[in-house]
Amino acid sequence: MTSARHYSVPGVPGLAVGVLDIGLACCSLEIAAAVTAGLLVPSDSGSAESSVLLVSGTVTDAMAPAVLSAWNALPEPRRAVSFGACANTGGPYWDAPTVLKGVDQVIPIEVYVPGCPPRPEALIAGLAELAAR
């Protein structure tokens, strides 16, 4: 969870994103799967049109400030994607007093990708949705 990595997305021509991936739980493996499957292709930095904060996994009360500071540290123009049921609404932990009822309680989210975990294709579809906006 340090500096953004840059990717091109073969399925979404023209989209170059710098992704800061906040991987908090199981969902994060699917982002690695998307890279392994070639759906996200690491590229040289600098070409990114915007920085994207991809929040995947369960956002607990304890992690909320870290998510907020990662967002605040991201250079403009910046956009945020919520990836998976936990980040979307709390998901399986919807009734837990220690889990946020969605990461949009702390940062503005533009695209919500469903799944538990979402399949890599769903991530690409979500990024296409983001690019189309």
């Binding site: 607990t60 009360d61 304890a62 909320a64 919807w94 009734d95 837990a96 007093p97 220690t98 009822k101």
Partner: protein
């Protein structure tokens, strides 16, 4: 699973370590209502055999830390403290993992009421067919506390 008295917890796990169980697996708490049970698993990497050990805590809900035997246990002992209200004696680190502060009821105890389950309308509380609703028995999902959200002013709604 081997059951050991809580007073032998550290010596038994140290004996496992000495017997070649070099990998720490996990520690889990179980709320047995009358008492808290603590279970640890350790693995011997040479033959992949696993040892499961369990102990039942006394009313003081205290267990000695094994983090000096298995370093990885420290994380799970923090979980035990935060989620089961267990006092881990001799633990170097007892900061909560999920909460921001020490405040709040241990989340995995059965006696801890999950407010979200009370406040969220359960879609299962309806019967097939709208006209069946008139004289049906109210239903409740599992894990929903009764009488938690009441008007304490005594007025009848």
């Amino acid at each position: 699973m081997r059951r050991v008295p809580v007073s032998d917890w550290v010596t038994e796990l140290a004996a496992c370590q000495a017997a070649g169980f070099d990998c720490f697996g996990m520690i889990a708490g179980v709320d047995r209502v009358e008492s808290i049970e603590v279970i640890a698993s350790v693995v011997r990497s040479s033959d992949a055999s696993c040892e499961l050990m369990s102990t039942t805590l006394d009313a003081d809900r205290t267990v000695a830390s094994i983090a000096h035997v298995y370093t990885g246990a420290a994380w799970y002992e923090r979980e035990l403290a935060e989620m089961f209200g267990v006092l881990v004696a001799g633990a170097g680190d007892d900061r909560p993992l999920l909460r921001r502060t020490d405040e709040g009821a241990p989340t995995l105890l059965k006696s801890t009421i999950l407010g979200a389950r009370v406040l969220t309308p359960w879609p299962g509380d309806a019967d097939a067919g709208d006209d069946a609703k008139a004289n049906r028995r109210r239903q409740r999902a599992v894990g929903v506390a009764e009488g938690w959200l009441v008007d304490e002013s005594g007025s009848d709604d």
